[in-house]
């Protein structure tokens, strides 16, 4: 997954994405923190925490998926015009290994930008105390651009 180069249509995409992420209460609840924001690529960190686990003590796969969804969505959003909104219409996730570790590095990247439909891919790696990474989940997500609909922006 080497990042393709994209030309952003909104030069101020980074503060726009950061402000929108800041309004996602769900990400704050899960403890997810926005890291790098590039044109077509977004990285989020999710620290391990007990309040997001499932019954075996791993992070809940659905929680990893929610963070991947945000990463994929903001990767798409970064390439959009300033006034456009982005809605995830579907995603598919493969949970490749139990989500154990000190923290998780979650990356979303645009594979195919489009006028109406944009497709992103995501990867989540667990990171242990020594900084060693292991791939734990992958995602493909399809996003739709929405313009001129009240309440759906950024």
């Amino acid at each position: 997954m080497s990042a393709p180069l994209f030309e952003p249509r909104d030069p101020a995409f980074e503060p726009r994405v950061r402000a929108s992420f800041g309004r996602q209460s769900a990400m704050a609840t899960l403890g997810a923190k926005l890291q790098r924001v590039e044109a077509g690529r977004v990285e989020i960190e999710l620290p391990f925490a007990e309040h997001i686990t499932q019954q075996h003590g791993f992070v809940h796969g659905g929680v990893v998926s929610a963070v991947l969804d945000s990463a994929c969505g903001y990767a798409a959003s970064s390439l959009m015009p300033a006034e456009a909104g982005v809605l995830t219409i579907e995603f598919k996730v493969n949970l490749l290994a139990p989500a154990q570790g000190r923290r998780f590095r979650v990356v979303g990247e645009v594979v195919k930008p489009g006028r109406t439909i944009t497709v992103s891919e995501g990867r989540a790696w667990s990171v242990d105390d020594e900084g060693r990474e292991k791939l734990v989940a992958s995602m493909v997500a399809t996003m739709m651009v929405v313009t001129g609909r009240d309440g759906i922006q950024h």
Copy 2:
């Protein structure tokens, strides 16, 4: 999605599923409450709450997906032997409408039970103040049965 009839291998599946759900801290964090538990079918309620929203004030699609994942997983688990564990290996969700409403009714049902692989389908409906329901998301999830692996049970 009319529930097929399944014969549970563990007659005590209901308390087992309820105890396991009770250990999913992530579900408590999101506010999800386990409702009915039948053989091959599980229903969860998710009340609307500000701490699980995305930037437009709807419930985050990834949060709806996480609850659907639990519903699909426990539907599969209800048909398993007492000592088996169930891991979601992948799922796909379609977000059909914005997750607005007073609360959400989330149902997971087994489509195809198997010795190693079980496939479940999920549906999430928003429910408004008058009790009217609207389909907001659908899921297909593939679960693997795990036996004899330490730490992966129930």
Copy 3:
């Protein structure tokens, strides 16, 4: 999967769908035959044949998927205005059992019709010599409506 009732926007949807299916050389190559065409629901028959098998002598899962894709796409198309085109933007298929049998009954149904995006679900059953059916595959497919693009119609 009980068919919801939909109101077609094009009263002449059935001959339009049948004519378009007739132009899908791929379906003729595979031996697929269009059966019932209703508003939001399409049924296709695929007879077992040696030229569509994989290495174990079952029908190739990708072939079953291709027929499911056509069934899901035409279910969506049946609800569209006469001049609109429908493109599959993504689908996900679960292959639930080996595709053995005398023939296969493949059904696509619209779950959520929309102005831009329509979601359909498909099911494929094998049918044996005594007419007994067994579910062998399920699909979820996302279709986009395309209007005013040369060469993409019906």
Copy 4:
């Protein structure tokens, strides 16, 4: 999608994969030709042909998917013990652009090999008369290893 390096468990994986592909009548029917076979990576060529088109004259998305499924499955199979069989349990495909072109280059690669479950990713590019490539489809596929089941081998 840079190929990770895998150590094959069966040193004779290449002739085994080629022989099995040769028994897939469906691939011969579609005109697909096996090209490179490496440990964890398989490449197939699909020439454009009228008998595999849909109603607009592009190659049917389901046909592209069927070839991607074979590429992903044989990528998984290349890493298996000689006596194991591989079954696709599910796949998801995104059709990113109309499948137009002189021919198509279809690649499947293993992302996560496993004892029971292996996950592969696929890409399909159209190739025009000048050799220029364009990404037209991507796949994620989940495969299950099957051993000791009569009739399911290689």
